[in-house]
């Protein structure tokens, strides 16, 4: 082992060892970064995740469509009057994840519900127009969402997420 001959400048020697060790540690840590960073989405994946436009005109009342954005299914439902009324009738405070229906749609376009169709429990895709709440039903572990995509029953902890989107015109939205 190090035969520490304390006679010759013990402090200078220690400083050298510490400096070398520190340089090795810093260099090693910095060298790790590229190996971790490469796991993130690459430039083409990011570019492919750019906003998309969806034409709503073919979707009749009571129908819904599923589009993909960034590999995620997005449900766009053209809700009926009944569905909207149901969603607005429930007292918000009684919900597991309290949120008003108005806060989940764009005002003036209240008939359109746009949600990410991924169950907030463990990521399965809920089925539209199923379950007890006129909304979505997740077959994996039985979570039920209402016509506003809010969790009402089952193991999921949160409402279906609303993706960022805007109305470009009355019949066209841009997601992303």
């Amino acid at each position: 082992m190090t035969t520490a001959s304390s006679a010759d400048h013990p402090t200078r020697r220690d400083f050298l060892f510490v400096a070398t060790g520190a340089a090795a540690a810093v260099g090693g840590a910095a060298a790790l970064w590229p190996f971790i960073s490469q796991m993130n989405p690459d430039a083409s994946t990011i570019a492919a995740g750019a906003p998309i436009e969806v034409d709503l005109s073919p979707v009749a009342e009571g129908q819904d469509i599923k589009v993909f954005w960034r590999g995620k299914p997005i449900y766009i439902s053209h809700r009926t009057k009944k569905q909207i009324d149901e969603a607005r009738a429930v007292p918000v405070a009684s919900l597991p994840d309290p949120q008003s229906d108005e806060a989940r749609v764009k005002s003036g376009h209240d008939q359109w519900l746009v949600v990410i169709g991924i169950c907030t429990h463990l990521g399965c895709i809920p089925i539209a127009h199923e379950g007890n709440y006129d909304g979505f039903f997740c077959p994996c572990h039985g979570s039920q969402y209402d016509s506003s995509g809010r969790i009402r029953q089952g193991p999921a902890p949160a409402n279906l997420a609303v993706p960022p989107y805007t109305f470009v015109s009355d019949t066209k939205i841009q997601i992303g």
Binding site: T2, S5, L16, F35, D42, S44, T45, A50
Partner: protein, 687 residues
């Protein structure tokens, strides 16, 4: 790895583990207290360097495999896209590709060191043979790895090397079919090579463990070749050998980093930037530099089977070395004749490597035969004879005695020899690239040359304009997306400018809900559309020669730089492969065909094109493209700008690469100095 250890950790939890699995004791006895001869020189650090490189290759390889697609139609593109799109993809790819060369460089030093100091002699025969097995596995791994990018050299290298097995009588053809998984090299071949290329490094790691085990049983050899006798002859592995190896690795990293950041394409073959084409063989099939000596032996023997046997025996013969050389004295330091023949042997190997890269004709064939005979004579005649007739100088009684009488001459001479060897190898590569029949392109002053080179933004933008208005009528740019035009280190357009540029293009998309394909305006994420729907159409419209895609053209074309330019290029980083050539071909058209040159119908005379007959008509003429920035609208300006642009399309991350390279160098130099002084301190009491 030397028997049960009496190592006792002080921590009770560690004690608990140690009693059940004495792993810390194993590490402690193998890498901490393990006695290492105190007279080892720096050639002994190559063992640690090799371990480091193996780790590096496995690490970067596993990561590259996360982004690579082993399919004949997708492999080439997936490699190019991972370099372009994945975060630090260019770095990881360069590390892996240059790492292979560095690995072989280190293994050759390591082997020659063993040869010089007699490290294969009793009791280290098994250790040596394990080393030869590692080397064989490395060659197989390296070969299969080179196939994976699926460029022209990949494909034809795979064809040539697998065809070696067809030399085996009776069953050869069936073996080759078995290797290919088809009737020619194709997708099944690529798939299995990928699988094996992933597997073999772990086999290597396994044999390395055996190699180290055998080493620790027999103990390390040393420059004087006398076994340690007393405590005074050795020092503990840690910190002495650890720190010295660490310093060796740090120095090696400097060389490695130079290739990674500054000269990543220097050792590669330009042809491998052309996607594999089963219909066209490149004019010179040259393996990677580390196989060249054996390739030369293969070609020197005029009989197919004998050539293959000769090539494999050149490696297998190493296994018999411990018995071919039966001299009692280990180290060539004390064997005056063996020492001279050793250097002659090194020269023979280097010359064989040089010949391996030359065209197999004329004087090269004869020289190759002579050297092949020399190669085998060294093992079969010289060494057995020397061990009988040579009178060695007296060997010191002990290592401590040798240290007192130490001289450093050998180190200097080996260093000189290594530099000469490197130069020759590099030279031979360059010669292999030389293409006949073309005049040497004139040099240019490129803004991207040198360690701080940057692309000239104006030139990139003008070059893009030239490409768009002229080249794009026939040539694709399929690896470039519109979004790249806004990337840092590129032409420097804003997001809005990129979107506007992209929307000028019509992109085929679909199918839509009716199942039909449709056209829509381009988006930033789209790639430059190619002018022809497929290669056949491109061929048909252009007199039988499909215009090549330009994304990689400046790296896919090259020419011999000649001595001494290829050496200067290595340090000055003048250009990476062929920008000079591309710029020259664009300006090399002449209406008057010189005397003695006949140009076939439908071809044009070009001064710089190999063979002079090019199918592309003169593409550029003065005033054809207008520039907003007042640059001259001349062919010379167009050629230079479009070449700069195409250099960027081939190396889009060059600026980031050189910037990071500079930072890495600053760090490595400081670190190497720190390691050096630490090493001196640690060893201060031991010399």
């Amino acid at each position: 790895m030397s028997g049960p250890s009496d190592y006792q950790p002080s921590n009770p939890a560690l004690q608990w583990i140690e009693r059940r699995l004495p792993i810390m004791g194993l590490v402690h006895s193998s890498f901490v207290v393990y006695p290492t001869p105190r007279n080892l020189n720096y050639w002994w650090t190559f063992g640690a360097i090799l371990s480091f490189m193996l780790g590096m290759q496995i690490l970067t390889g596993v990561i590259l495999a996360m982004h690579y697609t082993p399919h004949a139609d997708l492999a080439f593109k997936s490699v190019e896209l991972l370099v372009r799109d994945v975060n630090y993809g260019w770095l990881l790819r360069n590390m892996h590709a240059c790492g292979a060369s560095m690995f072989f460089f280190a293994v050759y030093v390591h082997m020659l060191r063993g040869l010089y100091y007699g490290s294969y002699k009793e009791p280290r025969e098994v250790l040596w043979i394990l080393g030869v097995i590692i080397y064989l596995l490395m060659m197989a791994t390296g070969f299969m790895g080179y196939v994976l990018p699926w460029g022209q050299m990949s494909f034809w290298g795979a064809t040539v090397i697998t065809n070696l097995f067809s030399a085996i009588p009776y069953v050869g053809e069936s073996i080759v079919t078995l290797l290919w998984g088809g009737y020619s090299v194709g997708n099944p071949t690529l798939n299995r090579f990928f699988s094996l290329h992933y597997l073999l490094p772990f086999l290597i790691a396994g044999v390395v463990v055996l190699h180290v085990w055998a080493l620790h049983v027999a103990g390390q050899n040393n420059p004087d070749g006398v076994e340690p006798k007393t405590e005074k002859d050795t020092v503990p592995f840690t910190p002495h050998a650890t720190i010295k190896d660490g310093f060796g690795v740090a120095c090696f990293l400097l060389l490695y980093a130079w290739f990674i950041f500054y000269m990543p394409n220097y050792l590669g073959d330009a042809d491998n930037y052309i996607p594999a084409n089963p219909g066209v063989t490149p004019p010179h099939i040259v393996p990677e530099w580390y196989y060249l000596p054996f390739y030369a032996i293969l070609r020197s023997i005029p009989n197919k089977l004998a050539g293959v046997i000769g090539m494999f025996s050149a490696i297998i013969i190493l296994c018999f070395l411990p018995w071919l050389d039966s001299a009692r004295t280990r180290s060539s330091k004390y064997r005056p004749l063996a020492k001279q023949f050793f250097w002659i042997f090194v020269a023979v190997c280097i010359l064989l490597g040089y010949l391996g890269a030359q065209p197999p004709e004329g004087i090269y064939v004869i020289a190759g035969r002579v050297l092949t005979v020399c190669y085998f004579a060294y093992f079969l005649i010289v060494l057995p004879l020397l061990s009988r007739i040579e009178k060695p100088r007296p060997v010191p009684n002990s290592i401590s005695e040798a240290i007192l009488a130490k001289s450093g001459k050998a180190v200097a001479s080996i260093a000189v020899a290594l530099v000469a060897a490197g130069a020759l190898f590099l030279g031979s590569l360059q010669d292999a690239r030389a293409e006949e029949g073309g005049t040497k392109p004139p040099g240019n002053s490129w803004s991207f040359a040198g360690p701080f080179g940057k692309y000239d933004r104006g030139a990139l933008q003008r070059g893009l304009k030239v490409y768009k208005e002229v080249c794009s009528n026939c040539h694709g740019l399929s690896l470039i997306a519109f979004r790249n035009l806004g990337d840092p280190g590129g032409p420097g357009y804003s997001t809005a400018q990129v979107a506007a540029f992209a929307s000028d293009y019509k992109i085929k998309d679909g199918p839509n809900d009716q199942g039909e394909m449709f056209e829509r305006p381009g988006r930033a994420a789209d790639y430059f559309p190619s002018p022809f729907p497929n290669e056949q159409a491109a061929r048909a419209a252009n007199g039988g020669a499909a215009p090549p895609d330009l994304s990689l053209i400046t790296k896919a074309r090259s020419y011999g730089r000649g001595f001494p330019m290829f050496l200067i290029d290595f340090f000055s980083q003048y250009q990476e492969q062929g920008p000079d050539y591309v710029a020259a071909v664009l300006q090399g058209f002449e209406d008057k065909v010189p005397e003695g040159v006949t140009i076939p119908e439908g071809s044009y005379y070009n001064k710089y094109f190999p063979g002079h007959a090019i199918k592309m008509p003169k593409p550029l003429s003065d005033g054809q493209v207008t520039f907003d920035d007042g640059s001259p609208t001349t062919v010379a300006q167009y050629a230079k700008d479009v070449t700069t642009f195409l250099m960027w399309t081939a190396e889009p991350h060059m600026e980031a690469r050189k910037r990071l390279g500079f930072q890495v160098f600053i760090f490595l130099i400081i670190f190497a100095f720190l390691m050096y002084f630490t090493k001196k301190k640690v060893w201060a009491d031991s010399h």
